[in-house]
Amino acid sequence: MKKSLCVIFSGVLLASCGSSEEIKYEQYLVNGEQHYLKHCSNCHQADGSGLKDLYPPLAGSDFLNNKELVICLIRNGMSGEIKVNGKVYNQPMPGNKQLYELDIAELTTYIYTKWGNSKEITEVSSVKKTLGECKTKE
């Protein structure tokens, strides 16, 4: 009993040893996944593979190269034809007006870590800046 307490305690100590930056990153990933499962995976599927020719994949998508555009489309949605990995999709995606900038930052961090080969946080400040410059507002 004492031993297990000890183990737990040292685990906590070890975890808190990680830099605060790392902890923040972990936090972003955990919350980002929650947002993804709530707002996105219905269409893009939990594994990011998309659904047939209706909903494009995020996993392996060349569209992710343009992060600004992705941040804007999470907020505003999009419609009309788009090309993902050379394939044409054309189905409206609804926007997410209800998400806070922090939510979008967490979500973007999660998506880019999982499918965009990135290991860094998308900061709230840069989400704010990007959203201010989106082409389609409201």
């Binding site: 047939k52 020719d53 209706l54 189905q91 209800q98």
Partner: protein
């Protein structure tokens, strides 16, 4: 020790009884039952219907004559549960698409937006071929009426339901037998419920060969 053996014994009997009942399990008849003129039970039956499909062809109950069919209610621009329902219905489609005794009937509840062309594009993009799975539209009131009174699910317009895209509707899949009696309702957003539906379709096929 003796207690233990007794327990195992009881457990085995329960198991046998259980597995027995499963192989002979019969699907229930859902909805109101009435007693007919000659004293027979008259089960709840889906009324005759007439809709227009993705190819602008008229689809009536005749198209589902001698078929077990699964129905649902959705709309193409639905942001929330419909994509999940379609993901799950695709499992049913893949499993039974070559079986002429099984059909799928998806009704739009947003006929103003979901025209024949919109339904066709949506269906094509889902990769559906042949006439096993029909996507139909029609008069909005007619669709809502058959949904609520006959398939026993909710479907209505509600501008307060912004997050759901302006409609309130159920994610149910309704299983109907060859006489258009409702034999099962499943939550089309849950993988395990749809697994059960697939099993029940097989059961119904053996009941109504």
């Amino acid at each position: 020790m003796i207690k233990n053996i007794q327990f195992i014994f009881v457990f085995l009997i329960a198991l046998a009884a259980f597995s027995c009942s499963d192989s002979q399990r019969k699907l229930p008849y859902l909805g109101n039952k009435q007693v007919g003129e000659n004293g027979d039970t008259v089960f709840h039956t889906i009324r005759d219907f007439k809709f227009v499909n993705q190819d602008n062809d008229t689809i009536t109950n005749e198209a589902y004559k001698d078929k077990i069919y699964i129905s649902d209610f959705f709309f193409t621009s639905c942001p929330t549960i419909c994509p999940v329902m379609k993901t799950q219905m695709l499992r049913v489609y893949e499993k039974f698409k070559d079986n002429p005794q099984v059909g799928i009937l998806s009704h739009t509840i947003d006929p103003r937006h979901d025209s024949v062309q919109v339904l066709k594009a949506y269906r094509d993009r889902l990769g559906i071929k042949g006439n096993m799975w029909q996507f139909v539209t029609g008069e909005q009131d007619d669709i809502y009426e058959i949904a609520q009174k006959f398939y026993m699910v909710s479907a209505m317009e509600d501008s307060a339901a912004k997050e759901e895209g302006g409609f309130v509707h159920s994610g149910a899949f309704i299983l109907t037998d060859k006489q258009r009696h409702v034999r099962g309702m499943y939550d089309g957003t849950k993988e395990e419920e749809v697994t059960k539906l697939i099993k029940d379709i097989q059961l119904l096929l053996s009941e109504q060969p």
